[in-house]
């Protein structure tokens, strides 16, 4: 397959698909040995600035309309169910701290979670049960779903806005970190690398028992 044919094929597959496709799912449909990664990158560049662009969502690829054209899409728009402030805050806490227990969520917000909040997030398929914490009482932990990443157009969990900075500033710990210091703004702590995705996953695994979903 020439690079041009490959690019065309991938373009067709992604255009026709009803959901994001991973590189391996694409490769599966194509002759063996096809350089899918390279072709995807080329395709992405080709669509940059067009009315439709190729995005990475949840480590998968998907054509989506350009965000600046949202105003045109009146007929396609589904009025998204509005989440209450409490629900949004809870969702953010879960997204940035996962896996996180209910008690930890409550401790961040300083108020009890009303019964409906987690239900609503569950119902909207934004959060899921992740596992159980290995601590007394073995509380269940929550995390976000794949759908959450799709809904908020996130390439992966590592791309949560501001997460790297928050982590560097110790703000993603549940309790005050032992070495927590009032940061000195003159020496920016931005020299720290964000956690790699696999690192995030490793720590989660150690912390959480087996994921069940």
């Amino acid at each position: 397959m020439t690079p041009e044919t490959l690019e065309r094929a991938i373009e067709a597959l992604l255009f026709a698909a009803d959901g994001p496709l991973s590189a391996s799912e694409i490769a599966y449909r194509l002759p063996e040995g096809a350089e899918v990664g390279k072709a995807l990158a080329a395709l992405r560049a080709r669509y940059s600035g067009r009315g439709v662009s190729l995005e990475i969502i949840n480590d998968r690829w998907q054509f989506r309309t350009a965000p600046d054209l949202a105003y045109l899409m009146v007929e396609e728009r589904e009025e998204p169910r509005r989440l209450s402030k409490a629900a949004l805050e809870t969702l953010a806490i879960i997204a940035y701290h996962q896996p996180v227990t209910r008690a930890e969520i409550e401790s961040v917000r300083g108020v009890g979670l009303s019964r409906g909040t987690l239900d609503v997030l569950h119902e909207m398929n934004l959060i899921k049960l992740r596992g159980r914490r290995r601590t007394p009482g073995r509380p269940v932990t929550y995390g976000t779903t794949d759908y959450f990443l799709e809904q908020f157009s996130l390439p992966s969990l590592a791309d949560l806005p501001g997460a790297a900075e928050m982590r560097a500033a110790g703000l993603l710990d549940i309790n005050v970190p032992a070495d927590f210091m009032v940061p000195d703004p003159s020496n920016g702590q931005t020299t720290e690398d964000p956690l790699l995705l696999e690192e995030m996953e490793e720590t989660e695994f150690a912390q959480d028992f087996f994921e069940k979903d």
Binding site: A16, D18, G19, V108, V111, Q151, F152, G162, F210
Partner: protein
């Protein structure tokens, strides 16, 4: 959330606005009223004391970690007073926070030299921890803004409206994970263990007397810290007392013996293994182990 940043100055106004809102509750308001938090939410627009504190802290316009906690406490107490003056039923959370802040403030104002030595953490530590919580809550609010301003599917960006063929990759994936595998395994092994169980026989309990006698007999050998699990006898026959009964009775007996001064017990933390050994009154005490009875 920016509309609430001016509290408490605009508090009365806010309350008034809220009350007016009540007259014609939209569906959203109705939903809030239905929820458990309706009282708090509709009372003042804040969800809890921490949210109020965050709004107040922002007025100081410094890094939250450098905030003046005494000033913050002052403002919060004023806020609470004001709310009470307007005769709003305040949730207990708010009052608890108020009294805690009042106490913290008084300790912070006390010169270090005059503080009595207590087991409590230093007030500066508590203040830092409060500042950290505020900073964290603020970070999460910013995260909400950052998240909700991202292009959202079906609101700002749209995927293929008319997919041609459902491209779903044939999957040989199975719907089971290691946990399922473990549970399936254990279920069967347990079934196997219980297969010899005879429900017609009475389930015996391991008597406290027996446990005490048994522990006394073992006592001379218990020179080293030994786990309760090892001290409690194993079930001898299928029909006899169950393991759980052996453990429970041995635990009771060990408490009695400790009380009588023959045994020492220690447990490093809740749910940790319980260790016991013979009372070491005459042996040198510098062996490093704690001698808590």
């Amino acid at each position: 959330m920016s509309t609430r940043d001016t509290a408490p100055k605009g508090f009365e106004n806010d309350v008034l606005q809220r009350r007016l809102d009540f007259d014609g509750p939209g569906p959203e308001v109705a939903e809030e009223i239905a929820s458990d938090e309706a009282l708090i939410l509709d009372l003042d627009g804040y969800e809890g004391p921490l949210h109020v504190l965050l709004a107040l802290a922002r007025q100081q316009k410094v890094d939250l970690l450098k905030i003046s906690i005494t000033r913050l406490a002052e403002q919060y107490l004023t806020f609470i007073q004001e709310a009470r003056r307007l005769r709003f039923a305040l949730a207990a959370d708010y009052l608890v926070m108020a009294s805690w802040l009042a106490y913290l403030k008084s300790r912070l104002l006390l010169p270090k030299t005059e503080r009595k030595a207590t087991n409590e953490p230093a007030p500066e530590e508590l203040a830092l921890s409060l500042a950290y919580r505020l900073k964290k809550l603020e970070a999460m609010r910013k995260a909400v803004e950052a998240l909700t301003s991202r292009p959202q599917l079906r609101r700002d960006v749209f995927a293929r409206g008319d997919p041609e063929a459902r491209l779903i990759i044939p999957s040989s994936r199975i719907e089971a994970n290691v946990f399922d595998l473990m549970s399936a395994y254990v279920t069967q092994r347990r079934r196997e263990l219980e297969r010899h169980y005879d429900p017609t026989r009475r389930i015996e309990a391991y008597s406290l007397e027996d446990a005490r006698d048994n522990l006394r007999a073992q006592l001379p050998k218990l020179n080293n810290w030994t786990a309760l699990d090892e001290v409690a006898p194993q079930p001898r026959s299928a029909g006899g007392p169950r393991r759980v009964s052996y453990v429970a009775s041995t635990l009771s007996a060990s408490l009695e013996l400790a009380k009588e001064g023959h045994l020492q017990l220690q447990q490093l933390a809740t749910f940790e293994t319980l260790y016991m050994r013979k009372r070491q009154a005459l042996i040198n005490k510098s062996d490093g182990a704690s001698n808590d009875a």
